[in-house]
């Protein structure tokens, strides 16, 4: 795929507000993500990070405001064309039926194939390359039902790579992953970002957010939202208020670390 125009705005949200039942998850705020940028959503449990991510993915309509993908509202997108532009890593991938790892990764080609199309050798090569990226090259014929949680998470990420969108929306991509793969996966998306893709991800680890984010949206779970650059938002005082726990900032070896007091 040709490198997309770096100035391209992939995702915009304008005066967005979300309500679930009676509760407002966030008050009106706006965001704008250009190609080559990474946005991290942070916040305590139940603050609405996943709901916000699904709204940005066009899976649910915002209560107030508008979301535009590639400059156009979701309503104007054909659902398959949208799936070629943005991909979502969902938090839970229920697998009730057995399938090989390769077959599962090939699901990502769905929006690229015609109504009667079958996966071509090129699609299979793409899926195998994606599995290779996640250290799953030898797993292609394994049954997903026999994999561990972390291995399944890597299969899901490989499926997303096979989908090859411009914009990656990741719901806790480091879930179930060991330390090595947490960094490997985030490095992988940082490389994709460098190649002109966009990344929005929900993370729990503030330090990983500090390492990979360009922009941060911090939800406090009471409807408050702080949005801005990573340096603006990732401050002990903001974080401590949002997570309702005192947080201390340490600077060591040129790295910034946040630890709970």
């Amino acid at each position: 795929m040709a490198a997309p125009d770096a100035s391209l705005v992939l995702l915009e949200a304008e005066r967005l507000a979300l309500q679930v039942g009676e509760r407002w998850l966030c008050c009106e705020f706006s965001l704008r993500l250009a190609a080559g940028e990474c946005l991290v959503l942070l916040g305590p449990n139940g603050a609405g990070k996943t709901t916000l991510l699904h709204t940005l993915a066009g899976l649910r309509a915002p209560t107030v405001g508008a979301v535009r993908l590639g400059g156009r509202p979701y309503a104007e997108w054909d659902s398959l064309a949208a799936a070629r532009f943005r991909g979502l890593l969902a938090q839970q991938q229920p697998d009730h039926f057995s399938a090989s790892v390769l077959q599962t990764a090939l699901i990502g080609r769905h929006p690229h194939l015609g109504r009667w199309g079958w996966e071509s050798a090129a699609d299979v090569a793409l899926a195998r390359a994606a599995l290779g990226e996640l250290g799953l090259a030898d797993f292609a014929e394994r049954d997903i039902l026999n994999l561990s949680g972390g291995e399944r998470q890597r299969v899901s990420i490989a499926t997303l790579l096979t989908q090859a969108p411009q914009l990656f929306l990741l719901d806790e991509p480091t879930n179930h992953l060991d330390l090595h793969y947490q960094i490997a996966v985030l490095d992988l998306f940082a490389r994709l970002k460098g190649a002109g893709r966009g990344v929005v991800m929900v993370l729990h680890d503030i330090n990983l957010a500090a390492r990979f984010a360009d922009h941060v949206i911090l939800l406090d779970g009471k409807g408050g939202v702080l949005a801005g650059t990573s340096a603006e938002i990732l401050q002990a005082e903001h974080l401590g208020r949002a997570f309702d726990h005192p947080i201390r900032r340490l600077d060591a070896d040129g790295r910034t670390l946040f630890i709970p007091d």
Binding site: S79, A82, F97, A99, W118
Partner: protein, 326 residues
């Protein structure tokens, strides 16, 4: 790997198996008829008693068995995707229960056979609408709610069936029991159901890959461009119609709808583009074989075909399961 080439090969093999099953069904019976005579009766318009037996008696029955098996297997495969539950069968949402209530009511008041069929079909549709309406309720439509509603409606139908069985003591009891166990001998008009099966396949094959995606979870499917809600409505309506046609034609034949999709999944994998037509052919073949066996093994007595499908299906299934421990 070329998936479609493998699919074509598997389907061709299953077609041959179906042809062989038909050959046996048309030639075996009280009056053994050679393959050559069967061929002459079907394609050369031969005269004589043997040809009449093949055309008037055995062909409709063999087609009825095949169509019913195909309908149930396809409906079962669709239900398993819809409910994302490998243990779902076409009857789990109360459709066969509704059909049974309709049919038994008609038998109870002594209606003509074709009205019994019509009543069964009406009962199946009524149960479908009832479950759909109750599960849909407030607009949310989780599969747990759908499943629970279906199970409850099926339980209610079961109670009504038991009540009706306990009310009659004369010969009607016999016809009720035979209807409940499934019986292809009275199925003289299988052609409308064959049409339903054909339409069902034509409708579902273009969305077969969407079903593969749906099996990976609803949110993932939506993000991959599948119109999930619309697809689920389509699945539900289609699986219900297929099941209603099957139980109207032959009755509540058990096991085919649960075991054949499983069997095929173990044998050919879980790609719906291959699984759906393969399950249809295999289900039809299995029921044709079972029905032929049911009328020949202890001739002139006839066994209920549902018993035979269980007797054939269960050991084969257990064998595949133990051979293929996934």
């Amino acid at each position: 790997m070329a998936g479609w080439r493998r699919a074509a090969f598997v389907l061709a093999a299953l077609l041959v198996a179906a042809g062989l099953a038909f050959g046996w069904a048309l030639s075996a019976g009280d009056l053994p008829i050679g393959f050559r005579e069967v061929f002459a009766a079907l394609f050369r318009g031969a005269d004589g008693m043997a040809a009449d037996v093949v055309r008037e008696l055995r062909l409709p029955r063999a087609v009825a068995g095949f169509v019913c098996g195909g309908l149930l297997a396809l409906a079962g495969a669709l239900m398993q995707v819809l409910l994302r539950n490998p243990l779902a069968d076409p009857y789990v949402l109360g459709i066969s229960g509704g059909a049974a209530v309709g049919a038994l009511l008609a038998i109870l008041v002594g209606l003509a056979p074709w009205l019994v069929d019509a009543s069964a079909f009406g009962g199946a549709l009524a149960a479908t609408l009832l479950v759909f309406g109750l599960a849909h309720g407030d607009g949310s439509w989780t599969q747990t709610r759908l499943l629970l509603t279906g199970v409850i409606v099926a339980a209610g139908c079961g109670a009504a069936v038991t009540l009706m069985l306990s009310l009659v003591t004369d010969t009607r009891l016999q016809s009720m029991l035979f209807w409940l166990m499934g019986d292809a001998s009275g199925a003289t008009r299988p052609w409308p159901a064959l049409g339903v099966l054909f339409v069902g396949l034509v409708v579902v094959m273009p969305v077969a890959r969407d079903l593969n995606v749906l099996a990976r979870g609803e949110i993932a499917a939506q993000a991959l461009g599948v119109r999930v809600q619309r697809l689920r409505y389509l699945l539900y309506i289609l699986a219900s119609l297929l099941t209603a046609a099957a139980v109207t034609l032959v009755g509540s034949v058990g096991f085919v709808g649960l075991i054949v999709p499983h069997l095929m999944r173990l044998a050919v994998g879980n790609d719906q583009r291959l699984l759906l037509p393969a399950a249809t052919l295999a289900g039809g073949t299995l029921l044709t074989l079972a029905d032929t066996a049911a009328r020949t093994v202890v001739a002139p007595e006839q066994l209920p075909v549902g018993v035979l499908t269980a007797l054939i299906g269960v050991p084969v299934f257990l064998f595949l399961l133990s051979r293929n421990p996934r």
